[in-house]
């Protein structure tokens, strides 16, 4: 059991070879999505997400961020164009296999209320037919990764605070060690202090986990803090992709309101 534990641990801690870094993991090619002929949520999106990076999808509500995310794990199917995950179109993937290859964490968390924390985390490994000892070790491991004490394993979701629930949701998404993580405003509903705490920890976690992460947010500060690149969305189309550094220095029209708003909150601190 001990060796299993350290093996599982090393598998997530080992970083990818440098040559893999630039390999596209997710590609959007001329993707449009619409719910009705007169209601297009996403228009002609082209986007390449590389291995090991954290791409932040930043934009206002209704800008198409969540739609983007759901197109990746095939909760939605493109109306036109193609979304490719590891080179294969999502529509050509076996849908169950695709989704188990991708961790998914959402703002409402969606923990299973009738399962204890442990069972919530263990569900996919169990369905994947892991051995019991391996599952137990993995549950302990991911609880530790997300910073929850071991005794939380036996608690039920209704006995947890919002921040703890979000941590369990992240632990559940990490359970089967998927190489890709999709996160839809995971910290959006938390109080500011808990949010800052989790963001800080997540920042450290990113380097350790070395996963390809697509992260939806409307919070500029969060995007700058956690992103390796920021994709700015507005009313269903991509406005541009920036590194955090380029983003704050950009004079592009769609960017400036975000940076101004962010600067304003910073100024208050400096006074």
């Amino acid at each position: 059991m001990l060796t299993g534990f350290s093996q599982a641990f090393s598998s997530i801690e080992s970083s990818l070879p440098v040559s893999d870094r630039s390999q596209p993991v997710i590609q959007f090619e001329n993707v449009s999505y619409r719910v009705a002929p007169d209601r297009t949520l996403l228009e002609n999106l082209n986007l390449v997400i590389h291995s090991g990076e954290t791409l932040m999808l930043l934009g206002r509500s209704g800008s198409g961020k969540t739609t983007c995310l759901k197109l990746i794990n095939r909760l939605l199917i493109p109306f036109r164009g193609e979304v490719r995950v590891e080179g294969t179109a999502t529509t050509a993937w076996d849908v169950v296999k695709l989704r188990r290859h991708i961790g998914y964490a959402i703002q409402e968390v969606g923990l299973f209320p009738h399962y204890a924390v442990e069972q919530n985390i263990a569900l996919i490994p169990k369905l994947e037919g892991w051995e019991r000892a391996r599952i137990t070790a993995r549950v302990a491991e991911v609880l530790q990764i997300v910073g929850l004490p071991r005794e939380f394993a036996q608690r039920y979701p209704n006995q947890l605070s919002g921040g703890q629930r979000q941590r369990v949701g992240l632990a559940r998404a990490l359970a089967a060690d998927p190489p890709i993580l999709l996160m839809d405003e995971p910290f959006g509903a938390l109080d500011p202090i808990t949010r800052a705490e989790i963001q800080r920890e997540f920042k450290q976690l990113q380097q350790r986990l070395c996963k390809t992460i697509v992260f939806v947010t409307h919070d500029v500060g969060e995007a700058l803090l956690l992103g390796s690149r920021i994709a700015l969305m507005e009313s269903g189309s991509l406005q541009g992709i920036y590194t955090p550094h380029d983003f704050v220095n950009s004079k592009d029209d769609p960017v400036t309101p975000y940076v101004d708003a962010f600067r304003m909150s910073q100024q208050i601190l400096q006074q």
Partner: protein, 210 residues
Amino acid sequence: MLEFIVNHRREVATLTAEHLWLVTVSMTLAILIGVPLGILLTRRPALKAVILGTTNVIQTIPSLALFGLLLPLPWLGVRADRLTITALVLYALLPIVRNTYIGIAGVDAPVREAAEGMGMTSRELLWHIELPLAAPVILTGVRVATVITIGVATIAAAIGAGGLGEFIFRGLAMVDTHVILAGAVPAALMALLADSALGLLQSFIQRRTH
């Protein structure tokens, strides 16, 4: 009335056992048909109007008339117990089908989204998430259906299928309240007992599923 029951205790016991048998068989069949039908509705919403509509209409047919309507049918009309069980199953369907559907449809959207997003198959979703979470609501439907069935089963005596209705019809014919009550009181007690037993089961499940 007590005197009558004590004097006829063997007959009361036999008719109670008959009644219980009719109800048990009917409810078992109704659950075996109703729950899968309810699940089907959550997977094929197009069928909702047809199935819920049909079970709804059946429920509005007066019970005595339903027995009469089934009488001319070839295989059913031959034996009173077959006919009775069919009628009872038809009556019990609506609450079971409806509550199964409502229970599953009522599973929180984020819970469903998380389950689908993490790659559960439709069957895994059903067994691990939907049915456990819908169980209290489904059980409410079973409770309602059981109480209805115990009541309607008294009419079975009208077509000679036995049960506690025997006393009720005999008492009506004899204009003897004691005899009527000898059938009505045990039937009412049975309904109360079944209802509270299922209620206990329900609170047990609810405690487990939160």
